[in-house]
């Protein structure tokens, strides 16, 4: 894939490194001369100097043939504009925008700039993850595809620990895709027995969080209180 990354800050630089490692073709556009010179020492011809909200700078970087544009500057207006122009003028199929101020998120949505990613939101979600009685963390919303991926930490009072995955009554439109146990991730099979401390990733249709929360939440009468009867 040919990917244009706008902004060579910490996010953009590291992103470019990862993408280059994965053998993608990458151009990073940076408009601060000093930053450009620093990054250029490592990324060489993969970084280009200029203001990416100027259309000719985007064209010079080859936006007409780009498969993806990722705007991660520190300025929300710039990220919005660059993504809007990329998609609507140059018909780039995939765009990703960084939201610096979470209060600007509705503006990204209004202009149809999706997906947009806010570091503050991600950190907030991690914080929520640390709060014991909040059992469910949104990892990803794929709004257009109508899918979400969420993570749940199975606590001591979780109703489903000790039970086989095959015996769980998962809500329709949801699927367990991965279990993280002792720092290692694996794909669960029907015979996998859930343990306390497991971090479970599930993919689901939006709107099914509550059902999953009940299923994986603290045990009550209906689910059997910390029952060891499963499996």
């Amino acid at each position: 894939m040919y990917i244009i990354v706008v902004g060579a800050g910490k996010v953009g630089w590291n992103l470019a490194r990862e993408l280059l490692d994965k053998k993608h073709e990458v151009t990073v556009i940076e408009n601060n001369r000093r930053r450009y010179l620093t990054v250029e020492q490592e990324l060489e011809h993969n970084v280009s100097y200029g203001d990416a909200s100027e259309l000719w700078v985007l064209e010079r970087a080859g936006i007409q043939r780009a498969d993806m544009v990722i705007a991660v500057t520190g300025d929300d207006e710039d990220n919005m504009l660059i993504c809007q122009v990329a998609r609507e003028k140059y018909e780039v199929e995939r765009i990703i925008a960084r939201v610096n101020n979470p209060r600007n998120k509705p503006h990204f949505d209004l202009l149809g700039i999706k997906p947009s990613v806010s570091a503050t939101d991600l950190i907030l979600r991690l914080l929520e993850h640390e709060v014991p009685d909040y059992g469910l963390v949104h990892l990803l919303d794929l709004q257009e595809e109508q899918l979400e991926i969420i993570e749940m930490l199975l606590g001591k009072d979780c109703a489903v620990t000790g039970r086989r995955v095959g015996d769980l009554k998962m809500p329709e439109g949801s699927l367990l895709i991965s279990i993280l146990r002792n720092g290692k991730g694996f794909v669960p099979g029907p015979d996998t027995v859930l343990e306390v401390g497991d971090e479970v990733l599930a993919v689901l249709d939006p709107g099914h969080e509550e059902q999953l929360k009940v299923l994986f939440g603290p045990g009550d009468g209906s689910n059997g209180n910390r029952s060891d009867d499963g499996g």
């Binding site: 909200s53 100027e54 259309l55 207006e77 919005m80 003028k89």
Partner: protein, 157 residues
């Protein structure tokens, strides 16, 4: 008409004064509290005494836009010093608040041209300057009517 002007620089403040003197209701929004002083240049009374409104805040902040009265605005002018800010807030005014007349000042001719084609009412001062300069140069008479090449300038007349 109730006119909301975001960005109270030389352009915004001048338009604001002109509109107020024509009897319109005018509200200005700017991040910089000091820009209020620019509104009062050449006035013998204070901006508020003359019926003007001034709000401190950024054009992207919903609270600031609401405080400045965007929901009642008949016209919206985006004249901050940032092209991208103007482009974004003009679309917010148009789509979210359905302001009937929305005008964005965009300095970059390429961006102005494209957004104009997308249906945004844009004013591009740079384009105006380019056109004026070009026609001023064309209208200018050569130094000497008799020198066909440009090199004859020194020995002309």
């Amino acid at each position: 008409m109730f006119i909301l002007i975001v960005g109270c620089g030389r352009v915004g403040s001048s338009v604001a004064r002109a509109m107020l003197s024509e009897g319109h209701e005018v509200s200005c929004l700017d991040e910089d509290p000091e820009s209020h002083a620019r509104l009062e240049v050449g006035l013998d009374k204070g901006w508020e005494d003359l019926g003007g409104q001034f709000t401190v805040g950024a054009g992207l902040e919903t609270d600031a836009l609401l405080a400045a009265g965007i929901e009642n605005a008949d016209a919206f002018i985006a004249s901050t010093d940032g092209d991208n800010t103007n482009i974004v807030i003009a679309q917010i005014a148009q789509r979210r608040y359905e302001v009937p007349t929305v005008i964005a000042r965009i300095l970059d001719p390429l961006r102005a041209e494209w957004y104009e084609r997308q249906g945004m009412h844009t004013i591009c001062p740079t384009r105006v300057a380019i056109d004026m300069l070009e026609s001023a140069v064309r209208e200018g008479a050569p130094r000497s009517a008799g020198s066909p090449d440009g090199n004859g300038a020194a020995e002309a007349a």
